[in-house]
């Protein structure tokens, strides 16, 4: 048991920030706090089942907790996968970037929830294909296909060929 406590404390310390950010990217801050708490509680209860590579497991768990929370909160407008809930990142160069960001914001909002998640795991959580696939419960090949399609749909919404490389796969990642 002491070994378990030690392991969990280490896991918590290592992954707490990543899970907090994962939640903050998807829900409002108050809900994010609950999501993080519930996710680590589940991790504590399932510690013996935890894989060695724990972060994708935590993301996948947080994703399901969010789905449950979404249901519990009756899909009220205060909690949704609506991108309008997200605080925009600080602009790097207000004159140029804000316009682009607004464009990306609108394009992301026009994607399906699944497409958004596929892109977010790659661009925001910066997961490898293999780890992103674990979060979504699919094969790496399937994730790659989804990512490719999501990128195309995002690019189409952006209406700018130059933006197609937004979330491009590094060459050779699948090899």
């Amino acid at each position: 048991m002491d070994r378990d406590r030690e392991r969990f404390e280490e896991l918590f310390t290592t992954c707490y920030g990543a899970v907090v950010r994962y939640a903050l990217r998807r829900v409002d801050p108050d809900t994010a706090r609950e999501i993080v708490s519930e996710t680590f509680l589940i991790a504590w209860r399932r510690l013996p089942e935890m894989p060695e590579n724990v972060l994708p497991w935590l993301y996948a768990t947080a994703r399901r907790v969010i789905a449950n929370e979404l249901r519990r909160q009756h899909r009220s407008r205060a909690f949704s996968d609506d991108l309008s809930n997200l605080p925009p990142a600080e602009p790097l160069d207000p004159a140029e970037v804000i316009g682009q960001r607004l464009k990306v914001h609108a394009a992301l909002a026009g994607l399906s929830v699944r497409d958004r998640e596929v892109l977010r795991l790659r661009a925001w959580e910066q997961l490898s294909v293999a780890d992103a696939a674990k979060v979504l419960g699919c094969s790496p090949a399937a994730y790659t296909v989804r990512l490719h399609r999501a990128r195309r749909r995002l690019a189409a919404l952006l209406g700018d060929d130059g933006l197609e490389q937004l979330v491009a796969l590094p060459q050779g990642e699948l090899s």
Binding site: T13, L41, R71, A89, E90, Q100, V104, H105
Partner: protein, 214 residues
């Protein structure tokens, strides 16, 4: 340009310290929890339920309409409920949730008295690898909390096997229907969680997917 999507990351500049006091408090709270999944499951079972959003409003016990119990047919074994209309336009409903696995008879009775209530049942799915898509029939489009003036539960915030409520349609929002979703584990007769909300306009005809995370 390549990093535009990444620069849009709303949490990119969020700094999180796992050694901060709030994080340590959370860690201690979690590690103080028992790891017996059975007890956890029971706790969750009664946590998610029948929660009118009416903070600060005292619950009014209206457990006064227990009879006559009506026994449903067509697949219902011991289904039991009571629906009573009152002269002030309100309707009292008392239900043995443990017996309402098929709510058709109860729904028919609610429809007969023109109570704007939809009762749906669903199975709490085992923790899946990834959430299932919400079927179109479960889309409420605009689920909202409701006031205790609109719906008074006998036992608010509890998923008791028997619970009752009084609806006051005059306090419903325009086009509002009280939706009650009751979830069971596969093969079980006792509900493990219920959910209620006010659907405005379109009313779902099936329960949303729910996951038992334990």
């Amino acid at each position: 340009m390549t990093d535009l999507l990444r620069s849009f990351d709303p949490a990119a500049r969020v700094t999180v310290d796992p050694y901060a006091s709030d994080a340590r408090v959370l860690l201690r709270q979690i590690m103080a929890q028992p790891r017996n999944t059975a007890s956890r499951k029971r706790h969750r079972a009664w946590r998610l339920v029948l929660a009118p959003v009416a903070a600060g409003v005292a619950a009014i016990v209206v457990f006064t309409v227990p009879m006559p119990w009506k026994h449903g047919a067509s697949g219902l074994t011991t289904a039991a409920y009571a629906v009573t209309q009152h002269s002030d336009g309100s309707t009292s409903v008392v239900v043995h949730w443990s017996d309402i696995k098929n709510p058709a008879a109860l729904q028919a009775e609610l429809d007969r008295v023109q109570a704007p209530v939809r009762v749906l049942t669903g199975v709490a799915l085992p923790d899946p690898k990834h959430p299932q898509p919400v079927p179109a029939c479960a889309e409420p489009t605009s689920g909202q909390p409701y006031s205790a003036k609109a719906v008074q539960w006998d036992f608010p915030n509890q998923a008791t096997p028997i619970n009752g409520f009084v609806i006051h349609p005059s306090h419903f929002p325009s086009g509002g229907t009280l939706v009650i979703e009751v979830y069971y584990e596969p093969g079980a007769s006792t509900p493990i969680s219920t959910l209620s909300y006010m659907a405005i306009g379109h009313v779902p005809t099936c329960a949303q997917p729910a996951y038992d995370m334990n």
